[in-house]
């Protein structure tokens, strides 16, 4: 495949958020929290910041 064609195809798919690396995934939820009264809210997990 020509480099130009490859480039065009890549550009037509823009990665807004890349796939999480498994070791980066959010096991930081301490003991599996992220809910309770805070609901993931008082600890601020929204994507819409």
């Amino acid at each position: 495949m020509s480099e130009e064609l490859k480039k065009n195809q890549e550009e037509e798919i823009e990665v807004i958020e890349g796939a999480c690396d498994l070791e980066d995934e959010d096991l930081e939820d301490v003991a599996g929290g992220g809910c309770g009264p805070g609901s993931g809210c008082c600890s601020g997990k929204s994507a819409f910041e």
Binding site: A19, L22, E23, A31, G32, C41, C42, S43, S46, F48
Partner: protein, 476 residues
């Protein structure tokens, strides 16, 4: 924190060289979702968290690749979809990855989370809430037991997270301060990080309380508002009916630049149409960029709120309203908290994990804060004098720890499972295993939330129907 999943479960492209991975056999992920909006198609994979903007021109090629078609003109697209995990190896069972993450988080010894009520007393008299106007603060001997429990349960070098709640903890700040110092000493000795949040109605959030919060190293504060001033003052009032909105907002203004404030806006049938009035007021006060707003579904989740059923939106109704509100708030420039769209998660709630406890003011142990006031029937036990848990109701403990979203057909079949992980198990169990009641609302508003997220991330927000007068808010 990492538990080394990558090295133990190297199941994706990391496990094979690029040339081999492209030649290998792949299948579409079960967690792909696409939303077509004019010239743009948003593509999301709820398991990997990848989020794509695809041109309408390219989208048919994406579908062909996902359908298994091969060809020189499709190879770059295919590589892209493999990298972002829209295509996964044939032998990869995605559900097994979810189960593994879920169980490691729930039953591993990764840290300690405590939800603590230093008192079950509250200074408000809201009609829908459990309050015990005569409840006592946590006594010194119960504090001592709790401090020992914390020290005993906190693993060396692992993080501790505390959420102070009640009742209202503002009525027992001496207890918060006392216990915080003890917790911090344990963390220092064990080389553990410490994160503390506090949930309050905000009425007593004055200078003296702020100083105690500083001393207690509380970073996040959640304050609940029942909509606009008009509606808030009708439902969240002092015991004799006096209004509370203005004083709370004054306190928020004085506090939000030092602490991270999360304004929880409760939404129900009565107040939904006036939520934009609240946003207007927050803007007038110059607060929209100084705190986080999140919207919350008022639900009759326990015996204390069962009389409120007629004013509660159903989960799908609420999802529609919330989405309109989030769009309105984001468009105005508010910072949004909450879980409308999240990273992939390993659990929904700590209640189903071993190192997560809810502690009431008598040092009773529960698994869910919605059971405050019902420790005798819904609790799992109490903290003994030596700081060890004394489990007196193993059935209740097993109910929470045995909970498994992968046994629920609706959850197994749901695309949103990697972000929801089964939803609120208390809500589902209380509602006779009606899954809908506990679902992440994303399930019901997937297209709109995905689109809104894409617009936000690319700086291309569309106001669309807006919220003031929006049909979704005014009447579902």
């Amino acid at each position: 924190m990492s538990v080394g999943l990558s090295s133990k479960f190297n199941i994706l492209e990391a496990s094979m060289p690029e040339s081999a991975s492209v030649a290998a056999s792949y299948k579409p992920s079960r967690y792909n979702h696409f939303v077509e909006r004019g010239d743009t198609v948003w593509g999301v994979n709820f398991l990997s968290g990848s989020f794509l903007r695809i041109t309408a021109n390219q989208y048919p090629k994406v579908l062909r690749v996902l359908d298994g078609e091969r060809g020189e003109d499709l190879e770059a697209t295919r590589r892209h979809l493999i990298r972002q995990r829209f295509l996964v190896p044939q032998g990869f069972n995605e559900m097994n990855l979810l189960k593994t993450k879920n169980r490691i988080t729930r039953f591993g010894n990764h840290g300690l989370t405590l939800i603590v009520a230093p008192t079950l007393r509250c200074n408000f008299g809201c009609e829908y809430c459990y309050v015990d106007l005569n409840a006592n603060k946590m006594k010194p001997e119960a504090r001592l037991r709790l401090a020992r429990f914390f020290d005993h349960k906190l693993p060396e070098g692992k993080p501790a997270e505390i959420v102070w709640t009640g009742g209202d903890p503002s009525l027992a700040m001496d207890v918060v301060e006392d216990l915080s110092q003890r917790f911090l000493e344990s963390c220092e000795r064990k080389n553990s990080s410490y994160l503390a949040s506090l949930i309050t109605n905000g009425y007593l959030l004055h200078d003296q309380m702020r100083e105690r919060l500083r001393q207690s190293q509380v970073k996040n504060i959640q304050i609940s508002i029942d909509g606009s001033k008009e509606f808030h003052d009708k439902s969240r009032y002092l015991p004799k009916g006096e209004p509370t909105y203005d004083r709370i907002m004054d306190n928020v203004e004085a506090t939000c630049d030092e602490f991270r404030i999360f304004l929880r806006v409760n939404v129900d049938v009565k107040n939904r149409a006036a939520i934009p009035d609240l946003l207007d007021d927050l803007e007038r006060r110059g607060l929209k960029e100084r705190l986080y707003v999140y919207f919350a579904h008022v639900d009759d989740v326990n015996v204390n709120s069962s009389g409120y059923h007629e004013f509660c939106l159903t989960a799908p109704e609420y999802a529609k309203v919330e989405t309109a509100l989030v769009r309105d708030a984001v468009t105005r420039g508010f910072k949004i908290g909450g879980r409308q769209y999240t990273k992939p998660a390993s659990t929904f709630c700590g209640a189903n994990s071993t190192n997560y406890f809810v502690v009431d003011s008598k040092a009773n142990l529960l698994k869910c804060y919605l059971d405050f006031g019902q420790a005798d029937t819904e609790g799992i036990g109490h903290i003994g004098d030596d700081g060890h848990e004394v489990v007196t109701n193993q059935y209740n403990l097993m109910k929470w720890l045995g909970w498994d979203p992968f046994e629920i057909t609706e959850c197994r079949d749901c695309k949103v499972l990697p972000m929801c992980m089964g939803g609120c198990s208390h809500n589902i169990m209380t509602n006779g295993m009606q899954v809908e009641a506990g679902c992440l609302k994303l399930r019901f508003s997937m297209d709109e939330i995905v689109s809104l997220y894409g617009e936000t991330k690319t700086g291309n927000l569309q106001r669309t129907s807006g919220c003031s007068g929006c049909a979704a808010v005014a009447g579902v």
